[in-house]
Protein backbone atom coordinates (compact mmCIF):
# COMPACT_ATOMS: atom_id res chain seq x y z
CA UNK A 1 0.00 0.00 0.00
CA UNK A 2 1.40 3.38 -0.95
CA UNK A 3 0.32 6.49 0.89
CA UNK A 4 0.55 8.76 -2.13
CA UNK A 5 -1.50 6.37 -4.22
CA UNK A 6 -4.22 6.24 -1.56
CA UNK A 7 -4.05 10.01 -1.34
CA UNK A 8 -4.46 10.30 -5.12
CA UNK A 9 -7.63 8.21 -5.02
CA UNK A 10 -8.93 10.24 -2.09
CA UNK A 11 -8.16 13.59 -3.75
CA UNK A 12 -9.89 12.49 -6.91
CA UNK A 13 -13.05 11.54 -5.04
CA UNK A 14 -13.07 14.73 -3.01
CA UNK A 15 -12.61 16.95 -6.06
CA UNK A 16 -15.38 15.09 -7.86
CA UNK A 17 -17.66 15.32 -4.84
CA UNK A 18 -17.05 19.03 -4.39
CA UNK A 19 -18.02 19.64 -8.03
CA UNK A 20 -21.24 17.68 -7.96
CA UNK A 21 -23.43 20.35 -6.47
CA UNK A 22 -26.74 18.45 -6.59
CA UNK A 23 -25.18 15.57 -4.68
CA UNK A 24 -24.03 17.87 -1.89
CA UNK A 25 -27.33 19.69 -1.66
CA UNK A 26 -29.44 16.53 -1.44
CA UNK A 27 -26.97 14.94 0.96
CA UNK A 28 -27.36 17.82 3.40
CA UNK A 29 -31.00 18.69 2.90
CA UNK A 30 -32.46 15.15 3.05
CA UNK A 31 -31.70 14.31 6.70
CA UNK A 32 -32.70 17.75 7.94
CA UNK A 33 -35.95 17.37 6.05
CA UNK A 34 -36.57 14.08 7.84
CA UNK A 35 -35.97 15.60 11.23
CA UNK A 36 -38.15 18.60 10.53
CA UNK A 37 -41.09 16.78 9.01
CA UNK A 38 -41.17 13.25 10.36
CA UNK A 39 -39.49 14.01 13.65
CA UNK A 40 -41.37 17.18 14.42
CA UNK A 41 -44.65 15.94 12.94
CA UNK A 42 -44.79 12.74 14.96
CA UNK A 43 -43.03 14.46 17.83
CA UNK A 44 -45.97 16.78 18.36
CA UNK A 45 -47.99 13.85 19.70
CA UNK A 46 -45.45 11.09 20.38
CA UNK A 47 -42.83 11.02 23.07
CA UNK A 48 -40.78 8.00 24.06
CA UNK A 49 -39.92 7.43 27.71
CA UNK A 50 -40.40 11.11 28.26
CA UNK A 51 -38.08 12.02 25.41
CA UNK A 52 -39.21 14.19 22.56
CA UNK A 53 -39.55 12.06 19.37
CA UNK A 54 -37.40 14.40 17.34
CA UNK A 55 -34.55 13.86 19.77
CA UNK A 56 -35.29 10.13 19.88
CA UNK A 57 -34.82 9.61 16.15
CA UNK A 58 -31.78 11.91 15.90
CA UNK A 59 -29.31 9.00 16.23
CA UNK A 60 -31.36 7.05 13.70
CA UNK A 61 -31.26 9.91 11.20
CA UNK A 62 -27.49 10.17 11.51
CA UNK A 63 -27.20 6.45 10.75
CA UNK A 64 -29.67 6.79 7.90
CA UNK A 65 -27.50 9.51 6.40
CA UNK A 66 -24.42 7.30 6.62
CA UNK A 67 -26.33 4.35 5.18
CA UNK A 68 -27.41 6.22 2.08
CA UNK A 69 -24.20 8.15 1.65
CA UNK A 70 -21.72 5.31 2.16
CA UNK A 71 -23.53 2.46 0.47
CA UNK A 72 -24.39 4.54 -2.58
CA UNK A 73 -20.91 5.97 -2.71
CA UNK A 74 -19.44 2.47 -2.68
CA UNK A 75 -21.89 1.03 -5.16
CA UNK A 76 -21.10 3.95 -7.47
CA UNK A 77 -18.03 1.89 -8.33
CA UNK A 78 -20.14 0.20 -10.99
CA UNK A 79 -20.23 3.54 -12.79
CA UNK A 80 -16.44 3.91 -12.67
CA UNK A 81 -16.18 0.46 -14.15
CA UNK A 82 -18.65 1.24 -16.87
CA UNK A 83 -16.91 4.37 -18.09
CA UNK A 84 -13.51 2.68 -18.07
CA UNK A 85 -12.24 4.98 -15.37
CA UNK A 86 -11.45 2.12 -13.07
CA UNK A 87 -9.61 0.25 -15.80
CA UNK A 88 -7.25 3.18 -16.14
CA UNK A 89 -6.55 3.02 -12.40
CA UNK A 90 -6.18 -0.75 -12.42
CA UNK A 91 -3.34 -0.59 -14.96
CA UNK A 92 -1.29 1.61 -12.66
CA UNK A 93 1.07 -0.21 -10.29
CA UNK A 94 -1.22 0.78 -7.41
CA UNK A 95 -2.32 -2.33 -5.53
CA UNK A 96 -5.99 -3.22 -5.41
CA UNK A 97 -5.93 -2.82 -1.68
CA UNK A 98 -4.63 0.75 -1.99
CA UNK A 99 -7.49 1.56 -4.36
CA UNK A 100 -9.98 -0.07 -2.02
CA UNK A 101 -8.56 1.75 0.98
CA UNK A 102 -8.60 5.10 -0.83
CA UNK A 103 -12.24 4.52 -1.73
CA UNK A 104 -13.19 3.61 1.85
CA UNK A 105 -11.40 6.70 3.11
CA UNK A 106 -13.34 8.84 0.66
CA UNK A 107 -16.65 7.26 1.63
CA UNK A 108 -15.85 7.95 5.28
CA UNK A 109 -14.93 11.57 4.57
CA UNK A 110 -18.14 12.28 2.68
CA UNK A 111 -20.29 10.62 5.37
CA UNK A 112 -18.41 12.58 8.02
CA UNK A 113 -19.03 15.92 6.31
CA UNK A 114 -22.75 15.22 6.20
CA UNK A 115 -22.87 13.94 9.76
CA UNK A 116 -21.08 17.00 11.10
CA UNK A 117 -23.71 19.24 9.53
CA UNK A 118 -26.39 17.09 11.18
CA UNK A 119 -24.61 17.17 14.53
CA UNK A 120 -24.54 20.94 14.30
CA UNK A 121 -28.26 20.88 13.57
CA UNK A 122 -28.68 18.81 16.73
CA UNK A 123 -27.97 21.93 18.76
CA UNK A 124 -31.30 23.35 17.59
CA UNK A 125 -33.27 20.39 18.88
CA UNK A 126 -31.59 20.55 22.27
CA UNK A 127 -29.12 17.69 22.06
CA UNK A 128 -26.62 18.16 24.87
CA UNK A 129 -23.14 17.30 23.72
CA UNK A 130 -20.09 16.92 25.91
CA UNK A 131 -16.60 16.90 24.46
CA UNK A 132 -16.29 13.19 25.25
CA UNK A 133 -19.65 12.24 23.76
CA UNK A 134 -18.91 14.25 20.63
CA UNK A 135 -15.54 12.56 20.12
CA UNK A 136 -17.07 9.12 20.64
CA UNK A 137 -19.98 9.88 18.30
CA UNK A 138 -17.57 10.99 15.57
CA UNK A 139 -15.48 7.84 16.08
CA UNK A 140 -18.56 5.64 15.73
CA UNK A 141 -19.58 7.53 12.59
CA UNK A 142 -16.12 6.98 11.07
CA UNK A 143 -16.06 3.27 11.84
CA UNK A 144 -19.65 2.73 10.68
CA UNK A 145 -19.08 4.65 7.46
CA UNK A 146 -15.99 2.53 6.75
CA UNK A 147 -18.00 -0.67 7.13
CA UNK A 148 -20.91 0.56 5.05
CA UNK A 149 -18.66 1.93 2.29
CA UNK A 150 -16.97 -1.48 2.15
CA UNK A 151 -20.43 -3.04 1.86
CA UNK A 152 -21.30 -0.63 -0.96
CA UNK A 153 -18.03 -1.36 -2.77
CA UNK A 154 -18.75 -5.07 -2.50
CA UNK A 155 -22.16 -4.53 -4.09
CA UNK A 156 -20.63 -2.27 -6.76
CA UNK A 157 -17.98 -4.84 -7.60
CA UNK A 158 -20.64 -7.47 -8.28
CA UNK A 159 -23.00 -5.27 -10.26
CA UNK A 160 -22.63 -5.27 -14.01
CA UNK A 161 -24.70 -2.20 -14.84
CA UNK A 162 -26.08 0.80 -12.96
CA UNK A 163 -29.65 -0.28 -13.72
CA UNK A 164 -29.90 -2.20 -10.47
CA UNK A 165 -29.29 0.90 -8.38
CA UNK A 166 -32.90 1.23 -7.17
CA UNK A 167 -32.76 -2.33 -5.87
CA UNK A 168 -30.01 -1.35 -3.46
CA UNK A 169 -32.38 1.04 -1.73
CA UNK A 170 -35.14 -1.54 -1.56
CA UNK A 171 -33.18 -4.60 -0.54
CA UNK A 172 -30.20 -3.22 1.37
CA UNK A 173 -30.66 0.28 2.70
CA UNK A 174 -34.33 0.17 3.69
CA UNK A 175 -34.15 -3.15 5.57
CA UNK A 176 -31.00 -2.06 7.39
CA UNK A 177 -32.62 1.25 8.27
CA UNK A 178 -36.20 0.30 9.13
CA UNK A 179 -35.16 -2.82 11.05
CA UNK A 180 -32.66 -0.97 13.19
CA UNK A 181 -34.85 0.70 15.75
CA UNK A 182 -33.88 4.04 14.22
CA UNK A 183 -37.51 5.13 14.33
CA UNK A 184 -38.89 3.09 17.27
CA UNK A 185 -37.74 1.87 20.66
CA UNK A 186 -36.46 -1.72 20.89
CA UNK A 187 -38.35 -2.63 24.04
CA UNK A 188 -41.65 -4.52 23.74
CA UNK A 189 -41.43 -5.25 20.00
CA UNK A 190 -43.51 -8.04 18.41
CA UNK A 191 -41.43 -11.23 18.24
CA UNK A 192 -40.74 -11.14 14.48
CA UNK A 193 -39.62 -7.53 14.61
CA UNK A 194 -37.57 -8.11 17.74
CA UNK A 195 -35.76 -11.01 16.03
CA UNK A 196 -35.12 -9.05 12.85
CA UNK A 197 -33.78 -6.02 14.66
CA UNK A 198 -31.56 -8.15 16.87
CA UNK A 199 -29.78 -9.73 13.88
CA UNK A 200 -29.25 -6.36 12.18
CA UNK A 201 -25.83 -4.96 13.11
CA UNK A 202 -27.06 -1.42 12.42
CA UNK A 203 -29.42 -1.76 15.40
CA UNK A 204 -26.47 -1.87 17.78
CA UNK A 205 -24.82 1.15 16.16
CA UNK A 206 -28.00 3.23 16.42
CA UNK A 207 -28.41 2.10 20.02
CA UNK A 208 -24.87 3.07 20.95
CA UNK A 209 -25.20 6.49 19.31
CA UNK A 210 -28.53 7.10 21.02
CA UNK A 211 -26.94 6.25 24.35
CA UNK A 212 -24.24 8.83 23.78
CA UNK A 213 -26.57 11.52 22.42
CA UNK A 214 -29.62 11.33 24.68
CA UNK A 215 -28.68 8.74 27.29
CA UNK A 216 -31.20 6.13 26.15
CA UNK A 217 -29.66 2.73 25.44
CA UNK A 218 -31.20 -0.76 25.16
CA UNK A 219 -28.20 -3.08 24.84
CA UNK A 220 -25.02 -3.03 26.90
CA UNK A 221 -22.18 -0.85 25.63
CA UNK A 222 -19.75 -3.78 25.33
CA UNK A 223 -22.32 -5.72 23.32
CA UNK A 224 -22.89 -2.74 21.00
CA UNK A 225 -19.18 -2.16 20.58
CA UNK A 226 -18.43 -5.81 19.77
CA UNK A 227 -21.18 -6.03 17.17
CA UNK A 228 -20.03 -2.80 15.52
CA UNK A 229 -16.38 -3.82 15.36
CA UNK A 230 -17.30 -7.31 14.20
CA UNK A 231 -19.51 -5.92 11.45
CA UNK A 232 -16.86 -3.50 10.19
CA UNK A 233 -14.11 -6.11 10.17
CA UNK A 234 -16.26 -8.60 8.28
CA UNK A 235 -17.42 -5.93 5.80
CA UNK A 236 -13.85 -4.76 5.17
CA UNK A 237 -12.62 -8.32 4.74
CA UNK A 238 -15.35 -9.23 2.26
CA UNK A 239 -14.89 -5.89 0.49
CA UNK A 240 -11.17 -6.45 0.02
CA UNK A 241 -11.76 -9.93 -1.34
CA UNK A 242 -14.53 -8.72 -3.65
CA UNK A 243 -12.26 -5.96 -4.92
CA UNK A 244 -9.47 -8.39 -5.65
CA UNK A 245 -11.59 -10.77 -7.65
CA UNK A 246 -13.41 -8.01 -9.51
CA UNK A 247 -13.06 -7.94 -13.28
CA UNK A 248 -12.45 -4.57 -14.79
Amino acid sequence: MTLRGVSAIWQREMLTFSREKPRIVSAVINPIFWLLTFGAGLGSTVSIEGINYQQFIFAGIIVQTILFSSIFYGAYLVWDRRIDLLKAILVTPLSRFSIFFGKVLSGVTIALIQSVILLFFGLFININYTLISLILVVLIIVVTAAGLTALGLTIGSFMTSPEGFQLITTFVIFPLFFLSGALFPLANLPVYLGTLTSINPVTYIVDMLRGLLIGLQYYGTIENLLVMIGFVLVAMFIGTKAFERMRS
Binding site: L15, T16, D84, A88, L90, T92, P93, S248
Partner: protein, 322 residues
Protein backbone atom coordinates in the same frame (compact mmCIF):
# COMPACT_ATOMS: atom_id res chain seq x y z
CA UNK B 1 15.53 -8.06 -28.17
CA UNK B 2 11.76 -8.21 -28.27
CA UNK B 3 10.16 -5.87 -25.74
CA UNK B 4 6.72 -7.39 -26.18
CA UNK B 5 6.49 -11.11 -26.61
CA UNK B 6 3.39 -13.28 -26.72
CA UNK B 7 4.01 -16.95 -26.12
CA UNK B 8 1.13 -19.23 -27.10
CA UNK B 9 -1.18 -16.59 -25.65
CA UNK B 10 -4.75 -17.87 -25.58
CA UNK B 11 -8.03 -16.54 -24.23
CA UNK B 12 -11.23 -18.53 -24.21
CA UNK B 13 -14.68 -17.53 -23.04
CA UNK B 14 -16.43 -20.83 -22.59
CA UNK B 15 -16.48 -22.41 -26.02
CA UNK B 16 -15.60 -19.21 -27.79
CA UNK B 17 -11.92 -18.68 -28.50
CA UNK B 18 -11.19 -14.96 -28.54
CA UNK B 19 -7.43 -15.29 -29.01
CA UNK B 20 -5.84 -18.50 -30.23
CA UNK B 21 -2.22 -19.45 -29.47
CA UNK B 22 -0.82 -16.06 -30.36
CA UNK B 23 2.91 -15.84 -30.91
CA UNK B 24 4.28 -12.46 -31.80
CA UNK B 25 7.36 -10.38 -31.01
CA UNK B 26 7.58 -6.63 -31.07
CA UNK B 27 10.99 -5.02 -31.11
CA UNK B 28 12.06 -2.05 -29.07
CA UNK B 29 11.36 1.27 -30.77
CA UNK B 30 8.97 -0.26 -33.26
CA UNK B 31 5.40 0.80 -34.04
CA UNK B 32 3.40 -2.36 -34.40
CA UNK B 33 -0.13 -2.30 -35.74
CA UNK B 34 -2.66 -4.99 -35.00
CA UNK B 35 -5.11 -4.74 -37.86
CA UNK B 36 -8.39 -6.54 -37.93
CA UNK B 37 -12.14 -6.12 -37.94
CA UNK B 38 -14.15 -5.48 -34.79
CA UNK B 39 -14.35 -8.60 -32.69
CA UNK B 40 -11.14 -10.07 -34.08
CA UNK B 41 -9.61 -10.17 -30.60
CA UNK B 42 -7.43 -7.05 -30.71
CA UNK B 43 -8.70 -5.53 -27.49
CA UNK B 44 -8.54 -8.89 -25.74
CA UNK B 45 -4.85 -9.14 -26.66
CA UNK B 46 -4.13 -5.64 -25.36
CA UNK B 47 -6.01 -6.35 -22.14
CA UNK B 48 -3.93 -9.46 -21.55
CA UNK B 49 -0.73 -7.51 -22.26
CA UNK B 50 -1.89 -4.83 -19.81
CA UNK B 51 -2.64 -7.39 -17.04
CA UNK B 52 -6.35 -6.52 -17.07
CA UNK B 53 -7.31 -9.96 -18.28
CA UNK B 54 -5.78 -13.27 -17.36
CA UNK B 55 -4.88 -15.55 -20.26
CA UNK B 56 -6.54 -18.97 -20.39
CA UNK B 57 -3.19 -20.44 -21.35
CA UNK B 58 0.18 -19.24 -22.57
CA UNK B 59 1.64 -15.95 -21.42
CA UNK B 60 3.22 -12.71 -22.54
CA UNK B 61 6.35 -10.85 -21.55
CA UNK B 62 6.46 -7.08 -21.52
CA UNK B 63 9.82 -5.42 -21.00
CA UNK B 64 11.05 -8.83 -19.84
CA UNK B 65 8.35 -9.23 -17.18
CA UNK B 66 5.74 -11.96 -17.21
CA UNK B 67 2.14 -10.65 -17.28
CA UNK B 68 0.93 -13.46 -15.04
CA UNK B 69 3.79 -13.67 -12.54
CA UNK B 70 4.93 -10.03 -12.38
CA UNK B 71 1.86 -7.90 -13.09
CA UNK B 72 3.07 -4.94 -10.99
CA UNK B 73 6.36 -4.78 -12.93
CA UNK B 74 4.46 -4.99 -16.20
CA UNK B 75 2.18 -2.14 -15.14
CA UNK B 76 5.15 0.07 -14.41
CA UNK B 77 6.49 -0.61 -17.89
CA UNK B 78 3.38 0.23 -19.87
CA UNK B 79 1.14 3.13 -20.74
CA UNK B 80 -2.26 2.56 -22.25
CA UNK B 81 -4.97 4.55 -23.97
CA UNK B 82 -8.28 2.74 -24.00
CA UNK B 83 -10.84 2.63 -26.73
CA UNK B 84 -13.39 4.37 -24.57
CA UNK B 85 -12.59 7.67 -22.86
CA UNK B 86 -11.39 7.09 -19.33
CA UNK B 87 -10.63 10.57 -17.99
CA UNK B 88 -12.54 12.08 -15.16
CA UNK B 89 -14.96 14.62 -16.57
CA UNK B 90 -15.24 16.56 -13.35
CA UNK B 91 -11.51 17.09 -13.09
CA UNK B 92 -9.38 19.44 -15.13
CA UNK B 93 -6.90 18.09 -17.61
CA UNK B 94 -4.07 18.97 -15.26
CA UNK B 95 -5.70 17.28 -12.26
CA UNK B 96 -6.37 14.15 -14.26
CA UNK B 97 -2.71 13.72 -15.11
CA UNK B 98 -1.49 14.79 -11.70
CA UNK B 99 -3.52 12.12 -9.89
CA UNK B 100 -2.20 9.43 -12.22
CA UNK B 101 1.33 10.67 -11.69
CA UNK B 102 0.76 10.20 -7.95
CA UNK B 103 -0.52 6.69 -8.48
CA UNK B 104 2.66 5.89 -10.38
CA UNK B 105 4.66 7.20 -7.44
CA UNK B 106 6.40 9.94 -9.39
CA UNK B 107 8.26 12.25 -6.98
CA UNK B 108 6.48 15.49 -6.18
CA UNK B 109 9.13 17.81 -7.59
CA UNK B 110 9.16 15.94 -10.90
CA UNK B 111 5.40 15.89 -11.36
CA UNK B 112 4.94 19.50 -12.39
CA UNK B 113 7.63 19.42 -15.05
CA UNK B 114 6.48 16.05 -16.32
CA UNK B 115 2.89 17.18 -16.71
CA UNK B 116 3.73 20.41 -18.52
CA UNK B 117 5.96 18.49 -20.92
CA UNK B 118 3.28 15.92 -21.59
CA UNK B 119 0.61 18.60 -22.07
CA UNK B 120 2.92 20.54 -24.34
CA UNK B 121 3.41 17.51 -26.54
CA UNK B 122 -0.32 17.08 -27.13
CA UNK B 123 -0.93 20.84 -27.33
CA UNK B 124 -3.30 21.06 -24.41
CA UNK B 125 -1.32 23.52 -22.30
CA UNK B 126 -3.80 26.35 -22.72
CA UNK B 127 -6.74 24.13 -21.76
CA UNK B 128 -5.15 22.39 -18.80
CA UNK B 129 -7.26 24.14 -16.16
CA UNK B 130 -10.59 23.50 -17.86
CA UNK B 131 -12.78 20.62 -16.80
CA UNK B 132 -12.46 17.62 -19.12
CA UNK B 133 -16.23 17.83 -19.52
CA UNK B 134 -15.66 20.77 -21.87
CA UNK B 135 -13.12 18.94 -24.06
CA UNK B 136 -13.88 17.59 -27.53
CA UNK B 137 -13.45 13.89 -28.30
CA UNK B 138 -10.07 14.48 -29.91
CA UNK B 139 -8.86 16.57 -26.98
CA UNK B 140 -9.84 13.86 -24.52
CA UNK B 141 -7.94 11.29 -26.52
CA UNK B 142 -4.90 13.55 -26.56
CA UNK B 143 -5.18 14.14 -22.84
CA UNK B 144 -5.20 10.40 -22.31
CA UNK B 145 -2.11 10.04 -24.43
CA UNK B 146 -0.43 12.66 -22.25
CA UNK B 147 -1.58 10.80 -19.16
CA UNK B 148 -0.29 7.49 -20.42
CA UNK B 149 3.15 9.01 -20.95
CA UNK B 150 3.57 10.59 -17.53
CA UNK B 151 5.60 7.72 -16.06
CA UNK B 152 7.73 7.37 -19.20
CA UNK B 153 6.61 3.84 -20.06
CA UNK B 154 8.71 1.57 -22.22
CA UNK B 155 5.71 0.42 -24.23
CA UNK B 156 2.61 2.35 -25.15
CA UNK B 157 -0.63 0.57 -26.04
CA UNK B 158 -3.12 2.48 -28.14
CA UNK B 159 -6.43 0.69 -28.53
CA UNK B 160 -8.19 2.13 -31.57
CA UNK B 161 -6.72 5.60 -30.96
CA UNK B 162 -8.86 7.37 -33.55
CA UNK B 163 -12.15 5.56 -33.10
CA UNK B 164 -15.00 8.04 -33.15
CA UNK B 165 -12.91 10.96 -34.37
CA UNK B 166 -13.80 12.87 -37.52
CA UNK B 167 -11.35 12.64 -40.45
CA UNK B 168 -9.61 15.89 -39.51
CA UNK B 169 -9.24 14.79 -35.91
CA UNK B 170 -7.94 11.46 -37.07
CA UNK B 171 -5.18 12.97 -39.16
CA UNK B 172 -4.22 15.28 -36.35
CA UNK B 173 -4.02 12.33 -34.00
CA UNK B 174 -1.78 10.49 -36.45
CA UNK B 175 0.54 13.46 -36.50
CA UNK B 176 0.72 13.45 -32.68
CA UNK B 177 1.45 9.76 -32.56
CA UNK B 178 4.17 10.01 -35.21
CA UNK B 179 5.74 12.91 -33.38
CA UNK B 180 5.61 11.02 -30.14
CA UNK B 181 7.35 8.02 -31.61
CA UNK B 182 10.02 10.19 -33.10
CA UNK B 183 10.68 12.29 -30.00
CA UNK B 184 10.41 9.66 -27.30
CA UNK B 185 11.63 6.65 -29.28
CA UNK B 186 8.86 4.67 -27.73
CA UNK B 187 7.63 1.21 -28.62
CA UNK B 188 3.99 1.45 -29.64
CA UNK B 189 1.43 -1.28 -30.09
CA UNK B 190 -1.68 0.04 -31.71
CA UNK B 191 -4.85 -1.72 -32.70
CA UNK B 192 -7.03 -0.42 -35.46
CA UNK B 193 -9.56 -1.43 -38.02
CA UNK B 194 -8.66 1.51 -40.25
CA UNK B 195 -6.37 0.38 -43.07
CA UNK B 196 -5.04 3.84 -43.64
CA UNK B 197 -4.15 4.25 -40.01
CA UNK B 198 -2.09 1.08 -39.89
CA UNK B 199 -0.48 2.02 -43.21
CA UNK B 200 0.45 5.51 -42.02
CA UNK B 201 1.70 4.72 -38.55
CA UNK B 202 2.96 1.18 -38.31
CA UNK B 203 6.43 -0.13 -39.10
CA UNK B 204 5.01 -3.62 -39.09
CA UNK B 205 1.47 -4.86 -39.27
CA UNK B 206 -0.04 -8.03 -37.93
CA UNK B 207 -3.28 -8.90 -39.65
CA UNK B 208 -5.61 -10.55 -37.22
CA UNK B 209 -8.78 -12.42 -37.97
CA UNK B 210 -10.93 -14.43 -35.58
CA UNK B 211 -8.33 -14.45 -32.83
CA UNK B 212 -5.45 -15.53 -35.01
CA UNK B 213 -2.59 -13.58 -36.54
CA UNK B 214 -2.68 -14.41 -40.21
CA UNK B 215 0.45 -12.61 -41.34
CA UNK B 216 3.04 -10.16 -39.97
CA UNK B 217 5.13 -7.87 -42.15
CA UNK B 218 5.85 -4.28 -43.14
CA UNK B 219 3.03 -2.51 -44.99
CA UNK B 220 5.19 -2.37 -48.08
CA UNK B 221 6.03 -6.06 -48.03
CA UNK B 222 2.41 -6.95 -47.40
CA UNK B 223 1.33 -5.00 -50.42
CA UNK B 224 4.13 -6.56 -52.45
CA UNK B 225 2.72 -10.02 -51.73
CA UNK B 226 -0.06 -9.19 -54.11
CA UNK B 227 2.53 -8.84 -56.88
CA UNK B 228 1.80 -5.30 -57.90
CA UNK B 229 -0.88 -2.73 -58.60
CA UNK B 230 -4.09 -3.23 -60.47
CA UNK B 231 -4.60 -1.91 -63.99
CA UNK B 232 -8.04 -2.21 -65.49
CA UNK B 233 -8.27 -1.74 -69.25
CA UNK B 234 -11.36 -1.56 -71.42
CA UNK B 235 -10.71 -2.35 -75.05
CA UNK B 236 -12.63 -3.96 -77.91
CA UNK B 237 -9.89 -6.54 -78.47
CA UNK B 238 -7.71 -7.84 -75.72
CA UNK B 239 -4.37 -9.36 -76.75
CA UNK B 240 -4.29 -12.08 -74.13
CA UNK B 241 -1.51 -14.15 -75.65
CA UNK B 242 0.79 -11.12 -75.84
CA UNK B 243 0.00 -10.06 -72.31
CA UNK B 244 0.94 -13.51 -71.10
CA UNK B 245 4.41 -13.06 -72.51
CA UNK B 246 5.11 -9.90 -70.51
CA UNK B 247 7.22 -10.54 -67.41
CA UNK B 248 5.77 -7.70 -65.35
CA UNK B 249 2.22 -8.88 -65.79
CA UNK B 250 1.58 -11.05 -62.76
CA UNK B 251 -2.09 -11.85 -63.08
CA UNK B 252 -4.65 -11.60 -65.83
CA UNK B 253 -8.37 -11.61 -65.33
CA UNK B 254 -10.57 -11.10 -68.36
CA UNK B 255 -14.25 -10.15 -68.40
CA UNK B 256 -15.62 -9.62 -71.95
CA UNK B 257 -14.03 -6.39 -73.13
CA UNK B 258 -12.38 -5.65 -69.85
CA UNK B 259 -9.15 -7.02 -68.42
CA UNK B 260 -7.82 -6.62 -64.90
CA UNK B 261 -4.05 -6.96 -64.74
CA UNK B 262 -1.74 -7.13 -61.76
CA UNK B 263 1.33 -5.16 -62.81
CA UNK B 264 4.68 -5.04 -61.11
CA UNK B 265 6.21 -1.57 -60.86
CA UNK B 266 3.34 0.12 -62.59
CA UNK B 267 4.97 3.55 -62.92
CA UNK B 268 7.63 2.15 -65.26
CA UNK B 269 5.65 -0.54 -67.00
CA UNK B 270 2.37 1.16 -67.77
CA UNK B 271 3.47 2.78 -71.00
CA UNK B 272 4.95 -0.33 -72.67
CA UNK B 273 1.91 -2.23 -71.48
CA UNK B 274 -0.49 0.10 -73.24
CA UNK B 275 1.47 -0.23 -76.48
CA UNK B 276 0.47 -3.90 -76.65
CA UNK B 277 -3.14 -2.87 -77.04
CA UNK B 278 -4.66 -1.40 -80.18
CA UNK B 279 -7.50 0.95 -79.43
CA UNK B 280 -8.19 1.51 -75.76
CA UNK B 281 -11.50 2.77 -74.42
CA UNK B 282 -10.38 3.43 -70.87
CA UNK B 283 -7.57 2.73 -68.41
CA UNK B 284 -7.76 2.74 -64.66
CA UNK B 285 -4.77 2.31 -62.38
CA UNK B 286 -5.27 1.51 -58.73
CA UNK B 287 -2.46 1.15 -56.24
CA UNK B 288 -2.69 -1.86 -54.00
CA UNK B 289 -4.07 -1.00 -50.59
CA UNK B 290 -3.97 -2.88 -47.36
CA UNK B 291 -7.59 -3.57 -48.00
CA UNK B 292 -6.60 -5.76 -50.93
CA UNK B 293 -4.00 -7.41 -48.74
CA UNK B 294 -6.54 -8.03 -46.04
CA UNK B 295 -8.95 -9.46 -48.55
CA UNK B 296 -6.37 -11.80 -50.01
CA UNK B 297 -5.29 -13.11 -46.61
CA UNK B 298 -8.64 -13.47 -44.90
CA UNK B 299 -10.99 -13.79 -47.84
CA UNK B 300 -13.12 -10.93 -46.63
CA UNK B 301 -13.25 -7.19 -46.51
CA UNK B 302 -12.56 -5.32 -43.33
CA UNK B 303 -15.40 -3.07 -42.28
CA UNK B 304 -14.11 0.33 -43.20
CA UNK B 305 -14.65 3.75 -41.72
CA UNK B 306 -16.47 2.68 -38.60
CA UNK B 307 -19.34 1.27 -40.60
CA UNK B 308 -19.85 -1.47 -38.10
CA UNK B 309 -21.85 0.65 -35.76
CA UNK B 310 -23.98 -0.45 -32.86
CA UNK B 311 -26.74 -0.76 -35.40
CA UNK B 312 -24.86 -3.40 -37.38
CA UNK B 313 -24.06 -5.16 -34.16
CA UNK B 314 -27.70 -5.29 -33.18
CA UNK B 315 -28.58 -6.67 -36.59
CA UNK B 316 -25.81 -9.23 -36.34
CA UNK B 317 -26.88 -10.24 -32.88
CA UNK B 318 -30.55 -10.52 -33.75
CA UNK B 319 -29.85 -12.55 -36.86
CA UNK B 320 -27.51 -14.89 -35.05
CA UNK B 321 -30.09 -15.39 -32.36
CA UNK B 322 -32.87 -16.11 -34.83
Amino acid sequence: MAIVQAINLTKKYGKLTAVETLNVEIDEGEVFGLLGPNGAGKTTIIKMFATLLEPTSGTAKINGFDVIKQPAKVRESIGIVFQEPSSDELLTGYENIKLYAMMYGIPKDEIKKGISEALELVELTNRKDDLVRTYSGGMRRRLEIARSLIHKPKVLFLDEPTLGLDPAGREKMWAYISQLVEELKMTVLLTTHYMEEADTLADRIGIIDQGKIVVVDTPKALKATLGGDLVTINASTIPISELEKLKYVKKIKQENHKVILTIENVSRNLQPLLKVFGKIDSVEVRNTTLNDVFLSFTGKRIQEEGKSTWFDKIIQESTSRA
